[in-house]
């Protein structure tokens, strides 16, 4: 545990759960509870997607198809104004929509009963390792798409508006993933800590308002992460800086 509040420490000690501990390892990579949770979420997401698109209909008849249509269209509507037009938004849609869906699911996994206490179940976004991993993807994707779109001219933005700002610009590029990952991790972890503390005080009813807020926060954080990633990619690929 990184930020062990007294209440949470007591809780953790009571359940004897050590969350970031490796459960097993594949190809030398240790698999912890957050990884197994992510796998579970991925299986659910993919299963729903498969079921929704298996018998797709132009006149939507299944509720699942309706729901996923709503989700994807909402995401697309959020991305379009930032990217400028729908064609561009669709080009980066798979990456950005996956961020939103996986982060949202990860945040909500923390609301499941036993999350953080049972082995193999912990909100992935409540650890800095996972949010940092996501931020690293955003970092590389931003520069990759920037280079791909603008070629060598992409590096010009590091010396703009003034060449002496180069060090500052470079620092900015590294601050972005740091802020992305810390914001997401801090919010989800903090929310879980509060719920755990309230649970330690009075287990019945008291944590419920915080958990309801957690539903809102989970959505907001997934939204913020996706919007910022979109903004970074949009800025990197925009014709005029």
């Amino acid at each position: 545990m990184f930020f062990a509040t007294p209440a949470y420490a007591a809780e953790a000690a009571e359940h004897g759960a050590e969350h970031s501990q490796a459960l097993f390892s594949i190809f030398g990579l240790q698999v912890s509870s957050v990884v197994t949770t992510m796998w579970g979420l991925m299986v659910l997401i993919i299963l729903f997607s498969y079921l929704a698109t298996k018998r797709m209909n132009k006149v939507p008849e299944s509720r699942l198809q309706n729901f996923l249509e709503f989700v994807l269209e909402s995401i697309l509507e959020l991305l379009t104004p930032i990217m400028g037009d729908e064609k561009l938004a669709k080009r980066y849609f798979p990456l950005l929509a996956s961020f939103f869906i996986l982060i949202l699911a990860s945040n909500y996994a923390g609301l499941l009963p036993g999350a953080g206490h049972l082995p193999g179940l912990q909100a992935p976004t409540s650890t800095l390792s996972v949010t940092a991993g996501f931020a690293v993807v955003v970092f590389f994707a931003t520069h990759y798409y920037g280079l791909k779109t603008k070629g060598i001219k992409y590096f010009k933005h590091f010396v703009q508006p003034f060449p002496f700002l180069l060090p500052l610009n470079i620092i900015e590029e590294f601050v972005r993933p740091l802020s992305l990952s810390l914001r997401l991790y801090g919010n989800v972890f903090g929310e879980e800590m509060v719920v755990a503390s309230l649970f330690a005080l009075i287990p019945l009813f008291l944590p419920i308002p915080m958990m309801l807020l957690g539903i809102l926060f989970g959505l907001v954080q997934a939204f913020v992460f996706t919007m910022l990633a979109t903004l970074y990619i949009s800025m990197a690929t925009a014709e005029q800086h």
Binding site: S32, M42, I46, F93, I101, S129, A132, F134, V136, V137
Partner: protein
């Protein structure tokens, strides 16, 4: 702060795998279908618009034709009425003419008959006068001698009558 490099690598791998799978099973089919649906709706709307304007055009055309037909009908009726009027007056004129002719002929015939009757009457009166004169004179006159004189008398009497 303590970052597990294993968790981080797993997060990256998991995310990239999810992107690939969702792209295949969710984004491409669903967004493609949404596009297809959008296109279809757009096509239907365009078709409907085209059909509506076509219908409006046809309606205009029909009402114009109707107007033309009405005008034509009115013209035909007017012409027929004029024609009927003309033939009516022609027929009446003909009938009048014929009637006048018949009257004229009748008058002529009547005149002829009258003349004929008058002549007959004159002959009758002449012979009667001869007979009467003979009786009055108690003398038998030679018919041949006096007939001329009597005829003149009758002629005068006829002229007076």
């Amino acid at each position: 702060m303590n970052i597990s490099i294993h968790d981080m690598i797993w997060a990256i791998i998991n995310f990239l795998v999810l992107v690939v799978i969702l792209n295949k099973f969710l984004y491409k089919p669903l967004l493609g279908m949404l596009d297809a649906r959008k296109q279809q709706i757009q096509n239907r709307l365009d078709e409907a618009d085209a059909e509506r304007s076509e219908a409006a055009k046809m309606k205009d055309e029909y009402s114009r034709q109707m107007q033309n037909a009405k005008e034509e009908a009115r013209e035909i009726i007017g012409k027929a009425a004029r024609l009927a009027e003309e033939s009516k007056s022609g027929i009446i004129q003909d009938a009048k003419d014929e009637a006048a002719q018949i009257m004229k002929k009748a008058r002529e015939e009547i005149g002829l008959e009258k003349e004929k009757a008058k002549a007959e009457l004159r002959n009758e009166v002449a012979s009667l006068a001869v007979m009467a004169a003979g009786k009055v004179l108690e003398r038998s006159l030679q018919v041949q001698d006096h007939e001329k004189m009597i005829r003149e008398f009758v002629q005068k009497a006829g002229d007076v009558s």
